[in-house]
C-alpha cells in the first residue's frame, strides 16, 4: 500500500511525493505525530523547542512535503505570534529578568506607591515569547507532517491496528474529509459573495468580518446537509454504528525503517523530557 492521496492533498491540493517516510506503516506515521505532540509538553526552554523544530523539519524533509506550501499560513502564524508577544509584554504585571526596553503608557501615583502599565521587554520575556511561538510552529509542522503523509484510508487502517473500533476510525477519517469539504464550500461561498457585490479582497477589515458572518448560514446549512448525505450514503451501503469487521483489505508489516523512525522519535521524546527539566 502506498499513499497516493494524502489528507493535505484533499484539503489544499498538495499532492504527496514518493518518499521513504511516505512508505512507512500508517501506525508509524501516527506514532511520530503522537510522540512529538507529547514531547511538546516538555518544551519549556529554548533548547527543547529547537530540538523539536529540528526533528519535525527533518521528518518533513524525509516526507518530501514542500515547506513552501506553508507560506500561505505564515501570515496567520505571524498574527497569532504577534498577539502572543504583545500579551506577554503588555499583560505581565511584573515581568521577570533584566529589562531591555521600557515604555510606560499609564502611571498612577498613590500613597502606597506607583502603579505603572506599559511595554516592558525583558530578556526572560523574549525567551518566553520565542518558546511560545516555536511551540505553535512545532504544532503546525507536526500537523502538516501527519496530514501530508497519511491518506484517509491509512487513518482508518492505522487506528484499527491499534484496536480502535471500526466506526470510530471511520468517523475520524470522515472528520478530515469534512474539513476538505468545508474549505471547498467556503471558497465557493466567498466567490458568490463577490458576485453579489462584496469586495472581500479590497474591502476593510470590518467588511471581511461581515463576510465571514454572512458565510456562516450557508456553511452551516451545507455542513448539515452534507453530513446527512454522507451518513445516508454510508448507511445505505450497510455501514452502521454497530458495524464490526475483522477484515483488513490491505496487508502491511513493519519494516526496519518503521522501527528506526519510532525509536528515533522515542529518543527525541526522552531527550526533550531530559533537557526540558523533567
Amino acid at each position: 500500500m502506498r499513499t497516493t492521496r494524502s489528507i493535505l492533498h484533499e484539503m489544499l491540493g498538495i499532492p504527496p511525493r514518493d518518499s521513504i517516510y511516505l512508505r512507512l506503516h500508517p501506525l508509524t506515521k501516527i506514532s511520530v505525530a503522537f510522540l512529538l505532540s507529547i514531547a511538546l509538553i516538555f518544551a519549556t526552554n529554548i533548547a527543547t523547542v529547537i530540538l523539536l523544530l529540528v526533528a519535525v523539519t527533518v521528518f518533513l524533509l524525509l516526507a518530501k512535503i514542500p515547506l513552501g506550501t506553508l507560506q500561505k499560513y505564515i501570515v496567520v502564524i505571524i498574527s497569532i505570534s504577534s498577539f502572543i508577544i504583545l500579551a506577554i509584554f503588555l499583560l505581565s504585571p511584573s515581568p521577570e529578568g533584566n529589562i531591555i526596553y521600557k515604555k510606560i503608557f499609564v502611571s498612577v501615583k498613590a500613597e502606597k506607591g506607583t502603579w505603572e502599565w506599559g511595554l516592558i521587554i525583558t530578556d526572560k520575556g523574549v525567551e518566553k515569547a520565542i518558546i511560545f511561538i516555536s511551540r505553535i510552529l512545532v504544532m503546525v509542522l507536526t500537523a502538516t507532517l501527519l496530514l501530508g503523509s497519511l491518506s484517509d484510508w491509512e487513518v482508518i487502517w492505522g487506528l484499527r491496528s491499534l484496536r480502535v473500533p471500526y466506526v470510530v476510525s471511520l468517523a475520524i477519517a470522515l472528520f478530515f474529509r469534512g474539513i476538505a469539504l468545508f474549505l471547498k464550500d467556503f471558497q465557493v461561498i466567498r466567490e458568490s459573495m463577490m458576485v453579489r457585490g462584496l469586495d472581500i479582497e479590497k474591502g476593510s477589515l470590518f467588511l471581511k468580518f461581515k463576510a465571514y458572518i454572512y458565510s456562516l448560514t450557508p456553511l452551516i446549512v451545507l455542513m448539515i446537509r452534507k453530513s446527512q448525505e454522507i451518513s445516508l450514503a454510508l448507511e445505505t451501503r450497510g455501514i452502521s454504528l454497530k458495524e464490526k469487521t475483522s477484515t483488513l483489505y490491505y496487508k502491511m508489516s513493519f519494516t526496519k525503517n518503521d522501527f528506526l523512525v519510532i525509536l528515533s522519535t522515542l529518543a527525541i521524546l526522552i531527550f526533550a523530557a531530559f533537557i526540558g527539566g523533567v
Binding site: R5, K226, A233
Partner: protein
Amino acid sequence: MPRNTIVEVEGLKWKYNEGKEVLKGVDLFIEKGEFIGLTGPSGAGKTTLVLALTGVIPQRIPGDLDGTVKICGFDTRLTEVSKIARKVGVVFEDPETQFVMSTVEDEMVLGLETRNLDPSEIRERVSWALELVGLDKSFLSRSPLELSGGEKQRVAIASVVALEPDVLILDEPTSDLDPIGKGEVFASIENLRKELNTTIIMVEHETEKLAEYSDRIVVLRDGKIELEGDPSHVFSRIDFLKKIGVKPPEVVEITTRLGFNLPALTIEEALPEILNIMKKQSVKNIQAGKSEVEYVEDKEVVLSMKKVKYIYPGGIEALKDVSVSFRRGEFVAVVGPNGSGKTTLAKLACGVLKPTWGTVLLAGRDIKTMRRSELVQKIGYVFQNPDHQLFCQSVREEIAFGLRIIGLPEEQIQRKVEDISKLLGINNLLDEHPFFLSKGERRRLALASVIALEPDVLIVDEPTTGQDYKLCNELMELLDEYRRRGKTVIVISHSIPLILKHVDRMIVMYNGRILADGKPRKILENENIIEKARLEIPQTRILTKKIEKITGFPLPVYTPGELLEVLSTSSVKNSV
C-alpha cells in the same frame, strides 16, 4: 399481485414533520429482474419514494407513515437500514456526496470490508464491478472527485454493485452528465441486468433512455401514481405528460401524432414506418436554421475576452487563449463536456477569477479597473448550486442584499424586491427563510438576487439541472424575457433541445478552448464537433439523419413539431 414480487408498496402515505404530505397512497409491485422507470414532475415525491424503499423513511427522517413497504422480504419499518442495504443498493443523484474515501479503490473496499469477506474476494469483486461499469484498473488509485461526471457516477454504481444487491435503486443518476456520460451509465446498468438479473428502479427525467431500457414506466405526480404500464402505453399520453411537466420521448411523440397503433420507443422502430409515410406523400424541403433567431451583430459589444488564459493553483490549465465577445441582446449558450472550461470562463467574465494572461473587458473597460459594486451592475453570475449563493435570513433580505451594497435608497429597494419576486413567482415567499424553500424555489431565488441588480450581462450556470421539462422551459422563458429587455444572457447548459428552442448563439468549449461559435443548428450539423464536445443530438435529428442517409433527401429538422410539419406537407413530389 404479480408473482416473484421483490418490492411491495401498499397504500404508502408519508407526511414530513413540517406537515407537507408528499406521498398520498402509493401502490407499487415490482417483480424480480424488472427495470422500472420512475418519472414525474419535480416535487412529485420520487426521491421520497426512493428513501421509503431503503428504510431511511421512516427510520431516519421524522414524519408520519401509513401503509407498508416490503423490499426483498424486509419490512422497512422493522428492519434496520444497514440490514436492508445488504440486499438493496442505492445510487443518489450527486455522486460526490456519496464518496467517502479519497481513492476509487478505497471507496469500493469500504462497503466490502464490513461484509467480512476475504481480501482476495474483495479484490475480485472490485475488479469485476469496475469492469462491469466499463472502467479499468488504472482508476483504482485515482480520486473519485477528479473524475469526469460520467466516470464519477459509474464509480458510485460500481461501489454499490460490488456489494451484489438484489435491487438497485438509482435516483436521477444522469441529471448532471453530458450525453456520453448518460450513455455510459445506462450501458453499465444494462450490463448489470444481463449478468446478475438485478431488479432496477431508476428515477429519471430522461424519458428517451427510459423508453429504451425500461420494462415498465411509473409516472408519479403530487404523491400519487398517475400512470403505470409499458413504455409505449405510458409515453403515448403526450399531451397529458407535457401538461404535468414530463417530456415524452421525441420518437414516441412523432409516431403517436402520426397515428401509429403502437408508438415506437426507439429510432430503429420508428424509421421504417416513417420512411413508408414519406414514400406515400411528398415532402417539403426545409432549410437548416429556418426557425432560428437572427444574430444581433449590429449591437454593441458588452463583454469581450482577449487571449484569456487561466491556470488553477494546482497547475491545471483550464482556459487556453480564449478570445470571444458578446453583444447586447444576445441569448448565448455555452456547451461542452464536463471540465471543458465553461464555468472557469464564466468566473473570469465576472471577475471572480483573475486571468493568468489576457484581458476581460466590460463595455470596453478592463474589469481590473472596476470596483466590485460597479462590476455587479454590469455582470451577474448565478451559481450552479443555489445553496452556495444564499446567505440571508429571509427571501426579501436575500433579494435586497446586492441592492443595499450598491447603495440604493430603501424605498427603491423594496419596490425592486416586489417586482423581481413577482417576475420569478416567489412573491408569496418573501418572509420565508431561503433554506426552507424547495430546490426549484431556491434556484429561482438565487436568480432573483442577481437579476435584481439588473446587470447588462447575466451568466447562469446549469439552470435546468435536475428540473422537470415544464420548469426548465419556464426558466428559459424567463431568461428570454430578461434578454428582451435589452440584456445579454449567457447560459451554461447540456440541454440541446432547450438551447434549440430558446437560444440564438452557441459556443462549444472543449479542453479549455472554443471549438465552435455560431448558430446552434449549423454547429450541430458538424459531426466532428458533436463527437469531440460530446453534444447531445435531439432524438428527432438522429432519426432525420438516418432518413437523410437512406433517402439522400436533406431533412435538417430538430424537433417533433418540425418533422410532423414536414411529413404533413406535400409540396415536393416524389422526394423518396
